[in-house]
Structures are given as structure tokens and as C-alpha cells.
């Protein structure tokens, strides 16, 4: 059996590990755009802050692949998938045949249309190293800009705050996580940012960067903002260029059923790139979090090895902004909910949103209401309606 895995992140590498455990003689190949063995992208924030050493970020040593007889091809990407003849052409022009193919190629940050030295994106350990280099060059007189209103913006906020650097934050909409938060919850996040000393500009789409060779500022409808470094986090996009003519059904991700199988036989998808049929939430969606990616990697390996069971998980993600604990569980898309119930208030400093669809709870956002997490996670698993839940309020 020849297993070919496109993507060496947590989904792809976990799949390889599980496949090896179930089949000692299979050929397993990982095509990895990165030059580094597996590491935790979630740990990059801790690494940037100096909480953990660079070597502690790695989850596998470079020798792990060989020790497990896994062919690891770092620094190459897939360029074309031929599902009829069952091979993938990669960027060094080799054609890799497969019996079963896993697409676990993740996403890349959506880039700005403009670029200058001093602009930072944060996805890989190379990005983190680049950011540290910029920070050391800019010194303590640096003025930080952040553009975006999602998880990556939070990582920059936490880092720059830890370094006691002045922060200008701008984003296009009027609130953080605009697809998930109700206005009052958005106000709570904004209040925490402003109280934390951030110069906040909402409805401020980035129009241009300023600087000759090095960044000195950026322009929005709110004016010109002088910064020496700009952290950008305006969403991510999958690279579908190699899949375009392959006949694999694509949506906002690579579409799969509940078994993580695509519409093409022997082609599977897992992790951030997969738009999978979620049997708990009752719709097809992309969930981008560590827990989901790792669990799908483990699960899809079992399915590829012949154990055809549905993937089932209520996954979550959480992040902290200046002491405001933000937890997301399940399906938190406002547009996909019939009802979104709000518990708590701006005044109390804690808000929970409960997302309901077809008279059952499908998701929750908790801002400084950590203890609601268990209740909501259980309600999603048990497919309970909101009316059955009892929340504690002051």
C-alpha cells in the first residue's frame, strides 16, 4: 500500500504516525512545504514571548521520520493531482504515485496587495523568526501596528503588550470576529482593547503602506498611522491551484463526507483544508483549530486503513486578549444559526453567546464566562435545545 500525504502539519503528520502503527510495511510519504520537522504553531506565541525555547516548539525531531520509515520530503509542494492515473506531481518535477492520497495541505495567510520590509505575517516558525528579527532591529522605540480582527491579531496584541510597546490596531469591520460576535460582544472586546491602551480604529480598511524600503506607516480612511512594524492577520486561504483540474469537489475547503472521504475514490482530506460533513453540527463546514486538525489526522488514518467510521468531535479553541478569556466551541457562524442567545452583559464584563439551529445548540462563544463551556459542549453533543440550559447570571 502506498500512502501519499500532502501537508506535513499536525493533521498530515498525525495521520502518517497512525498509518505506520496500523501497517508496518506500507509506503508512507509526506510532501511538506516546510523545511522543518513537525512543530506546534500554537506554541509560536509562547516562543515569541520567550516562554519556551525555540527547540521546545518542535513536536518531532528530524530523525523521527526515518526512524518510522516515513519518507519525508521537506521544502516541496504539490503542483498537480491526476486522480485518473493516481499520482501527484510535486515542485521538483517528480511524479509520486499513490494508492491512497490524503490532502492535509492547510491554508496560507491572505496577503495584503502591498508589501514592504516591516510587514509581518504569522503562520510558520520562519514567520516567527522573521518577526523576532524585525523586533530586534526596531528596538524599544518601535511603534507597532496590527491589521486584522481575528486570532492572529490576538497573538500580535499579546506579544506587543508583553513587550510594553505602543499598539495601533485597525480593522475593516466594527468588531472582532465579525462572523461570530454579536454587537454587544464585539463592544466588550473593543472595550478591553481600548482600556488596555490600544489605539483602536474600526471601519479602517488598509489602503496603503508608507515607507521607502522599510515600513514607516500605513494608511486607512481614519488617517495615516505611523508604525515601524505591522502584524497582519486578515484571514487564511487554501491553495487549490494543484487541485483545480483533479475533479475533487471544492468549496471553501476540500469537500468531504463524514468519513473524511472526498468525492474521488481513494482521496481524503483532513485538518484546516477540509470542509467536512460534521455529524454533530449537522452541516458541512471548515473548522480551523488544532484539536480538530489533530483528531482528523488520527481519524482519517483509520478510515484510510479500512476502518470506515464517521468523524465525530465537538472541538474548541480559546485565546486570551489582555486577560479576556475567549472560548469558541462548535459552530459559531452567525449566518448559519437560527437563533443566537446572549447571556451576561457588557457591564458585567462577561458575555456568552449560544448558537442554535433547528432547535438545538450547535455552538458557543464565551468571553470571560469560562464556566459555561462545559454546559454548552454537553448541549452540543447531546443535541439539546437552548431552553433546557440553565446559566448562572449575577
Amino acid at each position: 500500500m502506498r500512502y501519499l500525504i500532502i501537508g506535513g502539519g499536525i493533521a498530515g503528520t498525525t495521520a502518517a504516525e497512525v498509518l505506520r502503527k496500523s501497517d508496518a510495511s506500507a509506503e508512507i510519504t509526506i510532501v511538506d512545504e516546510e523545511q522543518h520537522p513537525l512543530y506546534s504553531r500554537v506554541l509560536l506565541g509562547h516562543y515569541l514571548k520567550g516562554k519556551v525555547s525555540r527547540e521546545r516548539v518542535f513536536l518531532k525531531p528530524a530523525t523521527w521520520y526515518q526512524e518510522h520509515n516515513i519518507e519525508w520530503l521537506p521544502g516541496v509542494v504539490a503542483e498537480q493531482l491526476d486522480t485518473r492515473n493516481k499520482f501527484v506531481r510535486i515542485s521538483d518535477q517528480r511524479e509520486l504515485p499513490y494508492d491512497k492520497l490524503l490532502i492535509a495541505s492547510g491554508t496560507v495567510p491572505r496577503p495584503l496587495e502591498v508589501d514592504l520590509r516591516g510587514v509581518s505575517y504569522l503562520r510558520t516558525i520562519d514567520d516567527a523568526d522573521h518577526l523576532l528579527q524585525l523586533l530586534s532591529e526596531r528596538g524599544m522605540d518601535a511603534r507597532m501596528g496590527i491589521y486584522g480582527s481575528g486570532f492572529i491579531a490576538c497573538e500580535y496584541l499579546e506579544l506587543f503588550r508583553e513587550m510594553n510597546l505602543p499598539i495601533t490596531l485597525a480593522y475593516r469591520g466594527d468588531k472582532f470576529w465579525s462572523r461570530a460576535l454579536l454587537p454587544e460582544a464585539g463592544e466588550l472586546v473593543n472595550k478591553v482593547l481600548v482600556d488596555g491602551g490600544v489605539e483602536l480604529h474600526t471601519r479602517a480598511e488598509l489602503k496603503d503602506l508608507i515607507g521607502e524600503k522599510e515600513l514607516t506607516g500605513f494608511v486607512t480612511p481614519k488617517g495615516t498611522h505611523e508604525v515601524t512594524l505591522l502584524g497582519v492577520g486578515v484571514g487564511v486561504i487554501p491553495d487549490f491551484s494543484w487541485l483545480r483540474d483533479a475533479g475533487v469537489e471544492l468549496g471553501s475547503g476540500v469537500k468531504t463526507n463524514q468519513f473524511l472521504e472526498t468525492n474521488v475514490p481513494d482521496v481524503y482530506a483532513a485538518g484546516d483544508v477540509a470542509e467536512f460533513e460534521d455529524v454533530v453540527l449537522g452541516r458541512q463546514l471548515v473548522l480551523m483549530n488544532w484539536q480538530n486538525a489533530m483528531s482528523q489526522g488520527r481519524h482519517v488514518a483509520r478510515v484510510m486503513a479500512g476502518e470506515r467510521v464517521a468523524f465525530e468531535l465537538v472541538s474548541s479553541y480559546s485565546i486570551n486578549i489582555f486577560g479576556l478569556e475567549c472560548i469558541f466551541v462548535g459552530d459559531t457562524e452567525l449566518a448559519e444559526a437560527d437563533n443566537v442567545h446572549l447571556i451576561g452583559s457588557l457591564e458585567s464584563g462577561g458575555i456568552t453567546q449560544v448558537f442554535e439551529r433547528s432547535e438545538r445548540v450547535v455552538g458557543g462563544v464565551m468571553l470571560n464566562r469560562n464556566s459555561d463551556r462545559v454546559l454548552i459542549t454537553k448541549a452540543i453533543k447531546n443535541k439539546q435545545p437552548f431552553s433546557e440550559l440553565t446559566f448562572v447570571t449575577e
Partner: protein
Amino acid sequence: MPKIRVQVDPDLCIGAASCVTIAPETFQMNEENKAWVLDHGTEPGGSTYERWLEVTEDEMENIILGAQSCPTLAIFIFDEAGTQLFPDM
């Protein structure tokens, strides 16, 4: 039954709760969104980030799986002799 010491570093824990999903008998999120360590679902001696557990081989394997799933490697597991079982040194 093997005896292991399970320890959560609250400074590294970000509340992703992967450990709770995999090993709910051993980990539970607290008010601060950090993971307490439980002994088979209970908390003898009160809430803590560290405790000795007597577990079966299967339980131990599952607890290690929970630790492996932690995106910030905030969970440490030691055997009776004090050797770190996870993360690999």
C-alpha cells in the same frame, strides 16, 4: 498498576481543552480556563495542577495521548522513578 505523576504547567496552558476531550477522567478546565489534574474524575485533597495517579496501562496510554494532543505541550508525565515520559526529552 503503574504509578505516574501528571503535571500541568498553568503558565503554558491556553485552555484549548484537547486533553479534556481525550482524557476527561484526568483533566478538567477550571474557572481560569486552565486544566486541573483529576484522579479518576475526583479531586482528593482539592484542586491541583499536579498529582500522583495509579493507572492501568490503557489509562496511562490515554493520558499520554491527552498530553500529546496539547498544542502548547503544557502537560508533563513522569514515572515512579522520576523519568519524564512525556514530552520526550
